[in-house]
Structure formats: C-alpha cells, structure tokens
Symmetry: C2
Subunit: 491 residues, 2 copies
Amino acid sequence: MITVSVINAPLKEVYVLRHIILSFAFVASIVNANDTVEKKTINEQLIETALTSRHALDILTDLTTNIGPRLPGTEADLRTVAWAENLLTSQGFDRVYKQPVRVPAWKRGIANASIVSPAPQALIISALGHSVGTPEGGITAPVVRVSSLAALSEISARAVKGHIVFIDHKMERHRAGKYYREVVGGRSNGASIAATKGAVGLLIRSIGTDSDRFAHTGMMLYDVKKPRIPSAALSAPDADQLTRLLTQHGKVTLNFELGSEHLESAISYNVIAEYDGAKFPEQYVLVGAHHDSWDEGTGALDDGAGIAIVTAAAKQIIDLPDRPKRGVRVVLYAAEELGLVGAKAYARENADDLHNIYLASESDFGAGEIWKLDTRFSDALSALSKKLLKELAPLNIEAGHNKATGGPDTSVLVNKGVPALTLLQDGTDYFDFHHTPNDTLDKVSPEALKQNVAAWSVMLWTTTNSDAELRPISLKKTQRVEAKELSTPQQ
Amino acid sequence: MITVSVINAPLKEVYVLRHIILSFAFVASIVNANDTVEKKTINEQLIETALTSRHALDILTDLTTNIGPRLPGTEADLRTVAWAENLLTSQGFDRVYKQPVRVPAWKRGIANASIVSPAPQALIISALGHSVGTPEGGITAPVVRVSSLAALSEISARAVKGHIVFIDHKMERHRAGKYYREVVGGRSNGASIAATKGAVGLLIRSIGTDSDRFAHTGMMLYDVKKPRIPSAALSAPDADQLTRLLTQHGKVTLNFELGSEHLESAISYNVIAEYDGAKFPEQYVLVGAHHDSWDEGTGALDDGAGIAIVTAAAKQIIDLPDRPKRGVRVVLYAAEELGLVGAKAYARENADDLHNIYLASESDFGAGEIWKLDTRFSDALSALSKKLLKELAPLNIEAGHNKATGGPDTSVLVNKGVPALTLLQDGTDYFDFHHTPNDTLDKVSPEALKQNVAAWSVMLWTTTNSDAELRPISLKKTQRVEAKELSTPQQ
C-alpha cells in the first residue's frame, strides 16, 4: 500500500517522503556511530546535497543542447519560454506562469570585413546588436582610430567625416569584471557620437579580455536624433592587426558589410514560478536569471548557468521537509540582452506588489565560484548579513559592500527600493567568452556550478526565514547603474 | 673617409665591419675587466645576440601584418613570394632566386551548417582543403557517427548510405604532437572511404586539441576512383553538441553548404637564398620553412614563425666575421599545405645536386621553445651529434632519437638519402591554433622565438663547420612518413 501511494503522490510529496526516510536513516547512523555528534543544520544539509548533485548541470546541458542560441524575438526564444515553463513545472513549485513582454526583433545577417589597402585580407567582425545593415557590397572608407569613446568625443569632425571610426579601447581582466563599464560605452553609444561627426561606420575593439579571433557582440543604441550608421566589433587580434597597419602606413581603407535588419517587434515572456512560504505567504525572496542569449554562442555562461543555478537552488528548498517562512519566486526574464526589457516589464506589471519582495537577486555573471557577498540592506551590518556570512563561510565566501545591484535585471527593482544581494562569482575569464560564439557548455566548470547552487540554497533558506527588516535601502549608487544598464552592473 | 666608405659599402660589409669593431671593443673590455676571462666562442656569441635580437619577431610581424593569409594559387601567394624575395635579398646572402612550382588552386567560399532537427541551431564548420562544394542550399541528411576512420571502415554500407558521416575522433594533447598522426587520416582519407559506402557528405571533429569554436581546416584527398563528397570540420564544441544530440535523440538531421570550388592550377615559387661556404663552396646545409599558409588565420605559427627563425638564424651566420666551411641555403617552400608541393618540386629540380646537401632541416611546428634534438645521421652517436648537444646545452636542448624527418618538406629529401635533423619545438598548444582563424601573431611568444633563433644559429655554425661524415642514412622509417605526408611528421 505504501508503494502505491508513493507512486500516485505528487512529485513534491515523493521528495518529501524520500527526504524524511533519508533523514531518519541519517540520524540513526549518527546516533549509532557517535552519540555526541549533533544533527546537521538545514544549511549544512543543503551544502552537502548541492555539492553532490548534477541537477544544475543537467538543466544547463539540456538548455544549451536542445535549444542552443536564444535571441529575443525569434522562434528559438519561444521554444525557450516553453522549455522554461516545462522545467519549472517539473520542479514542484506551487504555480508556474508567464508574463508577456513585447521585445524588439532583429536579424543579424552576414558580417564580412576586409582591408582594401594597403594589405588586402579578411578581418573577423560581429555586428553589434540592433545595428543597421550596410548597403549590399558594404561600405568602403578610410579608418580613423581613437583610443576610447572619450577620445572620439574630443577629435574634430573634420578628422572623422567620411571615415569608419575605430574605437580601440582594450579591456583589462579583473575578477569582478570591473573594467567592463569603462569600455562598454564605446559599444553602447559610439555609433551616434561617431555619426554626429560624419562617420560612415563604427568598428570597436571587442569588449572582452581574450586574444582569440572571436568578435564580441552586444547591444548598441542609436540616438534617435542622429543618423544611424552600421556598427560592428572586431576580434582582439584583428584590432591589433588594424592598429599595426595604421601605425605603419597611416592610411588604411577598409570595407565592411552587415546584413543586419530590424524586424517587427515580437512577444516573449518572463517565466515565473512560485513556492509559497508557511508564515508570510504574501512575501517572497525573488531570484532571477535571464532566459535569452546572444545568438552566436549557446549562452551557457550568459545566462544558462544562471537559470540552472537559481532553479536548482529553489528545488533544494522545495525538497526540504518544511516550507520556509516566506516564499521563493523564480523569475526567468526575457530579453535582458536588449536592455533589461523583461525586467522592466516585470517591475511595471508588479508595481503594486514590490513591497512584498523581501529581497531580490540574480545570477548573471557566468559560472565561476562565488567568493563574495554584497548586499543592499538598510543596515550594512544587519543581523541577516552576519547570519548569511556565517552560513556561507564553509563555501569560502567573504563579506563585500552594501551597494549591491543584485545583477542587471535586479537593478530595476533595486531602483524602486527593493533590497538586494549579489553572490559575486569569479569572473576572471568571463569576458573571454561573453557574447561570443565561444560561450558554450564546455566553458562551465561542473564543480564551480555545484558551489554556486550550494551558496544560493543557503542564501534562500536563510533569507526566507529571516526576521530582519531590510528596508529602506539607499538608492544613491543604483541610479548610476540604471543609466548604464546595458553594462553588467557588477563590481 | 672611413665614414664615406662605410656608407657606400654593401650592407653585408657594414655588418662585418660593425661586428669587427664590436668584437674589438668586447675583447678590450674583457681584458680591462679581468685578464683571466676567455673570449666567448662563436656559438656563445650567437646565442647572446639571438637572445637579445628582435629580428625574427620583426620578420614575423611584417609577414603576418602586411601579407596575412597566404593560400597557394592566390594573389596573396604571389605577394608572399615577392615579400620573401625582398626579405632574403635584404639579409646579405650571396644570391636569391626563385623556382617555379605549379600548384593546385581552390576557393573556399561559404561554409554554413545547421541542425535541422531535433534542435535547430547553427554549427561552426570549415571546409577541408580542396573539398568540392555542395549544391546551393547545401545537403540535408541524417548523420551517422563513427568514433574513428577505422570504425568507418568497419561499419556496413547500409548504415552509411544517404547519410552524412561524422568522424568523432578526439585528438589528445602532447608536447611533440604525436597524436596528430592517429587522427589525421580521417581528414585526409575519410571522404573517399565514406563515399564508397554511399555517404553524401563528411564532417569530422576538428583535428585539434582546443575547446574553442574554431574548426580546423587542412588538406584532404579524393581517391580518383570514388565519388567526391563535400567535406568539412566541426569545431570541438560543435562536435560535442552533435554527439550529445545523437546520444539523446538517436536521429539528427543536419544541413551543410560549402561554396568551395577547384580553380585552374597556378604558378607559385620556392624562394631560395644562398650564402657560400669558404672551404666547400659546393656543399651546404639546407634550412627551410614554407611560405604558404591556410587562409583563415595569418599563418603566424604555421609557418610564419619558421620563416622568421631560419632567416634570422642564417642572418646571424652572415653577420659573423668569417664564412663557415660550407654554405647555408635557405629554402622557403611553396604550397606545403597542399601536400609538400614545393618540396617535391625542389627535390625534382635539384635531383643532381642532392649529394651536396650536407644535411637538411626545417622549422614547421610553431614557435614553442626547442627542447630536443633528433637526428638522422649514418651514426646516431656521430661526433657531430655530440658536438651539437654540447653547444645546444645552454639552451636546454636534450638528446632525441636518430629517426628525424627534419620536418614535413624535408622528409622528401630524407627519402632521397639526405641526412637531416629536427630541432623539436614544444608543441603542447600548437594544435590549439593549427589551421584555424586563431593562428595569429599574438599566439607567438617573443622569448621562445629568440630561443629558437639561438638554437638554429648554433646548429648552422656547428654543422656548416663539421668534418663528420653523415651518409648513408637509414631510410627505414621515413618511407612511412612519405605515405602520410599530409600529416606533420613530428615525434
């Protein structure tokens, strides 16, 4: 009879039952072995199960293999939404639903470039996201090189007019990726500034830290009052090559052709799953990741890993015998790459409910080991901060600052007063792969992924059961983040 | 008066004069500083100058920047020949000339691939060298995976007929690249074996050791009696992806399109430079490299580095005050990548003169530090071997075997009885970049390049002045090399 009832029970109850049986066995074995050994805490159990589970890796493998690239507004985007609904439904949440989001749509098309003179040869480029295309056959013009967006702002229009502007700003490597913000302006805003001075096209040195012949794509924005010029990134070795030719020969003429096109906007969806708390059912800890990716890789690091981590961590909470005091809400955002489109829609649609978000966070910085906890609480030395650091200490996570944005999408909520935290990953090599064809499953360390799930599980159990008051938060530093929301606001 | 005569003197004499002046200054300073210090040997001086010289790096930078890719039979190939003539002429050899070589010509064209079902997404491929193209729109067929060329030979034609064959043979990393030979057969001969069994196309896992989304091109051969099917390599992450899909779904349908075309054969040239010996003017030590490259990278490692190393080493000999007993001949071969085309032409054209080659060697395994000396002399324990090892010891070069091929092009000469040696480079990461777009200047370590020039200089001075008799050599092992001459015969 017991067997039959287990088979018929909802999936969640099977897990609970199994967990209870295992817990009994576990306690029994401890009692037998050594009467003085105490039972492990729930957080200790969560770490133990996370560090031995393949669940996150299985999710990530499935997503990157069976969907692959997930550009917003494409058919693959809708397949991803269906995949995300299925995934979350299978985890035992109380409810799973989706929220429609209108997203801009764009076709990449071909991207060819070559030196015309003095040394004819092909170069490797990638169109920047939502660039216009070129006429067929491309544009051919001499190149003017500037060392940064600031330098572009300073040179005369006469030097730029009729040229292809080349912003050659090298990004330095850093564990927290802090140099991204220094260089990403060239990608976001370079085209319109160059166009103002009469440039016919923009090329940038890829925003990345590798020396591979992959160009890094990423979103760009046109100022609606300026002419729209085609814009692309060069791989680092190609940027080096172009710089050497310019240094040696002075004048270099280049051709590049983009088949990019803007399409009709399309509908995508935020996919949301909820697991209710036992004591404060209206309150929840919101954990997120974005389900879209750039189209050239399979989005394993950006942000398949984030989906796998927050989903597997939430599943660990669902699998516990008791519910936490407040709930867990997982939000898989649409179209983050196009400018936090899904996150803004989420904040708009849930404007009346934001006070119920106890705190928010997001995993969107790859899959490196977590090494630091940043918070944005009313009190930097909150009892919750201390508790979290104590519980996360076995995972080698240290104290950070109290200016967390919680991740790119989460920054939208933080700007509306929602407390947040960031479990900061080691991003030393994140920008080697970010927005390139090389963002694939093999770049993810299965061990680091497990450590992430362990940390997120501990964070979820601790925060959903916390009694600390985290509001009101300081909004000072986040405003700046929103203005630069195309960058990944990590530090 | 002295000043005037220096300015008017041929470049070589200026160098000699400068060297003499420097030598006097050097000796004088030693005498002043410490009467007991002995004058450095010529080999010690060669090492010292090589380790502080930028000459090889300058050559390599110029070639990879101002020419870039150098596919045989293209206009870039002819620009390379002119570049090589200019380079060698500027070094002070006694004569520089070129030898015409007819080379097959081929256009790469587009190379697109995608999974049609069950998980639509693009894959990264590169046409294998001299593959035929597909019809427009490509070929669409289910995939059959085999683990190696041997496995392909064994499966039934029924399993292959109408399929795209996928040879999924992973290459292991090794300092001497010894696993290349185990896997390269799939690239060279896979298409015709697959075609015999009714396959409509061939895809191979790239012959490489990286996990980047670069497909490795390289030469393939059709059996003239079999149907010619289009053939391409998948990057390693794409091969992993395809394998996962096959494992999970059983049937995977794939489309791939190649715009490749065979063109009229063309003329290229071996470019040759000679510096005569003082005592045996008819004899010479032949050092080579190949001046062609695959078209996707700029051929920095394969084989721009080889050109830079042997040229800079020869220049070091030319710059010495005295000529060696026998001469130095530098041969920059055409069209090595297409099957040692230039080397075969060289051996044919110089058939009557091969007995004057004292020994031959080639630099064609990247730019890693040299760590081993292999020889092919009549006597493995020849006085010359011992002398070389003694002189090369300061550069951390150890004794190897006596079955050297001297490098791919040199193996043609070895097969005709010419003694050879190989200064074996550390190739641990050579096959990460080999035949990919990523074979660019930034992959070369300037310090390792200097060590290479030092070793080649010492080798040249020692061998051109040796009295040892190196003939006759054993031909036993080289025959096998010639049969597999599409591989890089290193070990």
